[in-house]
């Protein structure tokens, strides 16, 4: 959230005048990480961890509540003048901001609770959005690409191009990530075509196109029965449902599609003195 705003602000400045080089010793000139997100994710993890413990046995408890917990009817003993408690909720790209987090502890389950203390100020739900990992991505039911072969028969000619192509549609999914609703997109970005005759597979970023605009084709040099295997590599991105900013999934997922067997046949030239109507048993006359 903050980083995005900063980028926009910097871009606006850059459009007006060239940015002077940052001094080494200037605090603002140094690279920075996602501190707000780190803190929000840590708090979310700790809340989940404490909620996994039986309430009677907990020695630490977290809750989310607005200013000093008055709205939630909690008796917070904390000083409400703290910066985060009084800071107004942030702008969260149209999503509802998340109220501050409070924590209290007790020495043992038989001891009384100590007072609540503020653990995290107002935050945005996307700050604490856990990472959608490549394992999560690969678990999605991504539909394998549909492999189309031209000519559309189970028999092709040796030394004539066998054309292949697929539909490069982006697939979208709605799923949950540790309770957060997220949207995920899987985009096919790399295609590996194995023609099954031991030749080196062809790797393309193009999904191929049908005749006559075809760009991926292979002439089988020898007769035989082959299956064509298409391996599609998908890259992913995700966002909290309703948010505007997409986040990349690190890594790729693959699907494979195998064609039914096709037979490459050799058609030799024959000199004939009768056509197939006159002689249905002649060479290459389908009888």
């Amino acid at each position: 959230m903050l980083t995005g705003a900063l980028v926009i602000a910097l871009a606006a400045v850059a459009a007006v005048a060239p940015t002077p080089p940052d001094a080494a010793g200037a605090f603002g000139g140094r690279a920075q990480g996602s501190t707000v997100e780190l803190n929000a994710v840590t708090a979310a993890g700790k809340i989940a961890e404490s909620q996994a413990v039986d309430p009677a046995l907990r020695t630490r408890e977290y809750t989310r509540a607005d200013l000093c917990g008055t709205e939630a009817g909690l008796q917070m003993n904390a000083d409400c003048s703290g910066y985060a408690a009084t800071a107004s909720p942030p702008e969260c790209e149209g999503l509802d901001p998340v109220p501050p987090v409070w924590v209290r502890e007790r020495t043992s389950p038989s001891d009384p609770w100590q007072g609540w203390s503020l653990a995290l100020g107002w935050s945005c739900p996307q700050d604490a959005l856990p990472v959608f990992t490549i394992t999560d991505f690969r678990r999605l039911p991504i539909t394998p690409s549909v492999l189309t072969i031209q000519p559309p028969r189970d028999e092709v000619f040796v030394n004539m191009p066998t054309i292949v192509y697929t539909n490069p549609a982006v697939q979208t999914f709605t799923t949950t990530l540790l309770g957060f609703p997220v949207e995920v997109e899987a985009t096919p970005t790399r295609f590996t075509w194995d023609f099954g005759d031991g030749s080196e597979p062809i790797v393309t970023t193009s999904p191929g196109h049908p005749y006559p605009d075809h760009d991926i084709a292979y002439p089988y040099p020898y007769e035989g029965t082959y299956t064509i295997t298409l391996t599609t590599e998908f890259t992913g991105r995700y966002r909290l449902a309703g948010a505007t900013t997409w986040l990349p999934v690190v890594g790729t997922a693959t699907t494979t599609t195998t064609s039914p067997p096709i037979t490459a046949v050799e058609h030799r030239t024959h000199l004939v003195d009768q056509n197939c109507i006159e002689n249905p048993d002649g060479p290459w006359c389908d009888s």
């Binding site: 080494a24 010793g25 140094r30 920075q32 707000v36 803190n39 700790k46 985060a84």
Partner: protein, 194 residues
């Protein structure tokens, strides 16, 4: 003695900036090092730059509570101008978490600057407000700092001012961790205040 000689050049160059373009008002012969002075392993900063004085480590840092986290936040940020004035990154590095993007950049930038014979002057930080919130008691704090960094200049090995940045106010967010009784800065992010 190479470090001391470099110090002479730096001071001479600076004086030249304030005097006439052709006649430096200051001559290196006035300055005579004592025989017993040990050469510093790092480039010698301008002796009277307050940023070259290491900040005092607060005693409150000894306790692993919120007051300790706030004391550490103050100390760590105050180390910043010292690092660039002296090239001495030891204390800063000792309190930097290995995954801290900001910390890694500071150390790399300071080492590159020192390696090229340069340093920074000024840039002292005035911390106006520091707040830490204990997210994971005893282990992880979120910090929030309002601060102003004084004007800072980068000086190259020949004593020339390379870059200048005017006084700037920042809001700084911190992620502070305590591991095995040692305070570590997990991450720092900053926003310039208008």
């Amino acid at each position: 003695m190479a470090g001391l000689a470099a110090g002479v050049v730096v001071v001479g160059g600076l004086a030249g900036c304030t005097g006439g373009p052709d006649e430096p008002s200051w001559t290196p012969t006035v300055w005579t090092p004592e025989e017993t002075v040990e050469p510093s392993p790092t480039p010698t900063p301008t002796p009277d730059d307050p940023a070259a004085i290491p900040p005092e480590r607060p005693a409150a840092m000894d306790t692993g509570d919120t007051a300790g986290a706030e004391a550490f936040a103050t100390y760590f940020i105050e180390l910043f101008p010292y690092v660039f004035a002296t090239g001495d990154v030891d204390a800063f590095r000792a309190h930097s978490h290995p995954e801290c993007v900001f910390c890694t950049d500071v150390i790399a930038t300071a080492e590159a600057q020192t390696g090229a014979g340069g340093h920074s002057e000024g840039g002292l930080i005035d911390i106006q407000e520091v707040t830490a919130l204990e997210i994971d008691p005893g282990k992880w704090w979120g910090g929030s700092v309002e601060m102003v960094q004084a004007a800072v200049v980068d000086i190259d090995r020949d004593g020339n001012v390379v870059t200048e940045v005017a006084e700037t106010a920042y809001h700084v967010d911190l992620a502070i961790v305590r591991e095995n009784g040692i305070w570590l800065m997990r991450e720092v992010s900053h926003e310039e205040k208008s």
